[in-house]
Amino acid sequence: MESAKHEKVNNNDVTIEVKDLKKYFEDVKAVDGISFKINKGECFGFLGPNGAGKTTTINILSCYLKPTSGEGRVNNFDVVKEATEVKKLIGITPQENIFYEEFTVYENLMFFGKMYTVNSSILKQRANNLINKVGLDEKRKTKARKLSGGMKKRLNLIIGLVHDPSILFLDEPTAGLDPQTRRLIWDYIFELKKRDKTIFLTTHYMDEADVLSDRLAIIDYGTIIAEGTPEHLKETIGKGDMLFLKIEGTREKLLKSIEEVKNNEYILDAFYLEEEMETRVSAMDGVGKIGKIIKHFTHNGLQVVDVGIKRNSLENVFLALTGRSLRE
């Protein structure tokens, strides 16, 4: 009954919809006219460097900040005019660890659960489940200040889930974590995806966005510069896949073949590295085109004896779009 009350009819199955959203802080255009849609059950990655506008977008969609202009809707509820309804639907895991250091893990969950007006008996059960899910059983009665960095991050994550929201805003959920804890959080996010939760994930980790997102948008200086599935973005934007070829044959033939291979439209660049005695070919969808490339060299009387591949990455996509590295 309670969840039905919170649902608003959504014909297109669009859970989050943002139209020309702007947020200006005096002269700073933190968010400058972004638009996107997120479907139910989708994990939408929001990728961008620090200060790009990711957290500001989350703050607006979670009703913490009011936009300068534009519109944000969650389950068709307006985030400004219908904030109370929106808050019942969403859970947020902020970038920083936000909880009471002097409270235990269990007390923090109980406190924030009560702030969402979750029934006490349900809350107790849910708090114990969440603690178990993220491996904090033994730390249940430990004060938050005594937890390790990774444990704090896990506590920070599950506080946002204590009222079992259908929509999650995860703001840099693994920033600064060791690989093991990061993997643990990823696993939990995968589980949430399986439970049909809609997830809005901001990150500046390329691999994280790549692995977790069904679709993603790249934001820079407050505007969205690319949007699509990770695969699509990698196939269409960037330096392409890099092939490392060890080729045997005469030097003249090899150099001639390298020049010829560049005539293919999917080849972005090709050159011979003397010191390494290695041919490098940069190609869009290089993995898919690897057969054609090898065939090109063998037709010219050369023999490809070793092949190495470095896939195109979202880092390259970002670099191609902005001319900057994501971490600059």
């Binding site: 019942k88 947020i92 936000i98 009560k114 007006t117």
Partner: protein
Amino acid sequence: MSRLIVLIKKNLMRFIRNPKTLGFLILIPVIYYLLLGLIFGGIDFSDTTTTYNIGWIDDDTTNANYGIHPQFNLSYIYEVTDEINGINLVNYSSLEEAKQAALEGTITAYVYFPEGYESYLENRSFVNIAFWNNDTSTSTNFSIVDFYISLVSTTSPIFKFTYYNKTEGNSILLDFNNYNYDGMLIINQNFLKGLDDSWDVNMTYLFRNGTSLSKNIYIVGTFLSLANNYFHILNTTSDITIPVEYNYMIPNSTPFATLSFEIYFLQTVSPAVQATIENIFVQVLSSIINSNPLEIELPHEKKSTVGQVVNNITFSAPGYLLYGPMTILSFALVILTGEKKDGIYKRLASTEVTNWEIIISSIASNIILIFMQFGIGALILGLFGWSPIMYSLLDGIFGIILTMFLFSFLLLALALALAPVFKDPDSAGGGVWIIIIPLAMVSGIFVPIELFGETMKAIAAWLPTRFAVVALQNLLLNGLPLSHPDTLLNLGLLTLYSAIILVIGIKAFNKFKR
């Protein structure tokens, strides 16, 4: 409601779970009050009262009627004052003789009562009224003369009336300064006809310049009550009213002359001792000199007031007791700015909690801590001889609760307003003392305001914390009831200040929170 309780519980738990904060919360008032107790209460807990030898010069040859008004008799005042633990009165026949004794160190101060003092007190204790029957209409059912006779008999001995007919009354009014009347009650034209015809009728009360509002309200209230009772018994259906307006003062009337008693000190007597002695005498005599008939009706209450021990701690305790709670301002600010810095408000903003719940829970939890601070202070000062002089125990306790409640609101309103100024807990924890120390110093929390210069006294009079000090002084030192106009006025002003600062504070805080 349950969310609010959880928030309050959370706020208190944060104090309890943080050993340093909890330590400071308890240690600061404990150390502060222990020091004050040791300095001003003396180390010997059993006897902390200094005995002052005070000279007494009665130059008055007039005599108040001891039978009716024993409290106006200077011999009676002498006896009551001399019974105060810590005061030893010594009779002298002249100012010169007393001055000599002071110079020789026999007495610390001396009090002088001028000629006519008892007579002056007694005269001011009566309400002297000119009754002007200005009504020429007649009635078979009602009589103004009968009403006058009833009025005289019912209000005696506090009220004295003189009856004037239409022509006499007018000449009295024109020559009012030559008579000893507090005011004139006028039966207006057609008053009797109005009663017969069941109109609503009114009398007019004109008062002498300089009469206090409370006295006028008492006088008019008495007339009004008696007139309605009297005429309603005679079956009138008219309602009788007497408008009380400031402009109903008799034009060009001059206030009654006042007569003061004097307290003399040698310059070598410390200001603190001077203030203590002055306060004792003012308290002893104020109930008598203040000729408000409401108070004259309660002479036994005054006796209990003047019969108490007033030591240094008791004299200064109302101010001291506010200092401990004032430190809560610092803790409140640290919590408010800390929660902002830690992002707690951001996280709470994504929940169903409202701004009001956050603000109210903050106020409620800090009120609990403020009462705890007050309790610690009262306990420790009690060990050092603080003996509150209260109108009654119930009145005192209720008054303390009300005053501290309002004081808490003021502090929390200040905390909300100051949070955006200091922004983070580090600067708030230190910087707030720039506010606390001047507020405490100038309000008379540390040092009695009686020792201030006139400029500082004037500044203090406008400080909200001063209102709390005065209210507590009235309740715990002067033995005045909570309902006393001065106490109510100060509590009212404290409420007004708190409300204004709270509105500003909430607006500023809501903006700061984002």
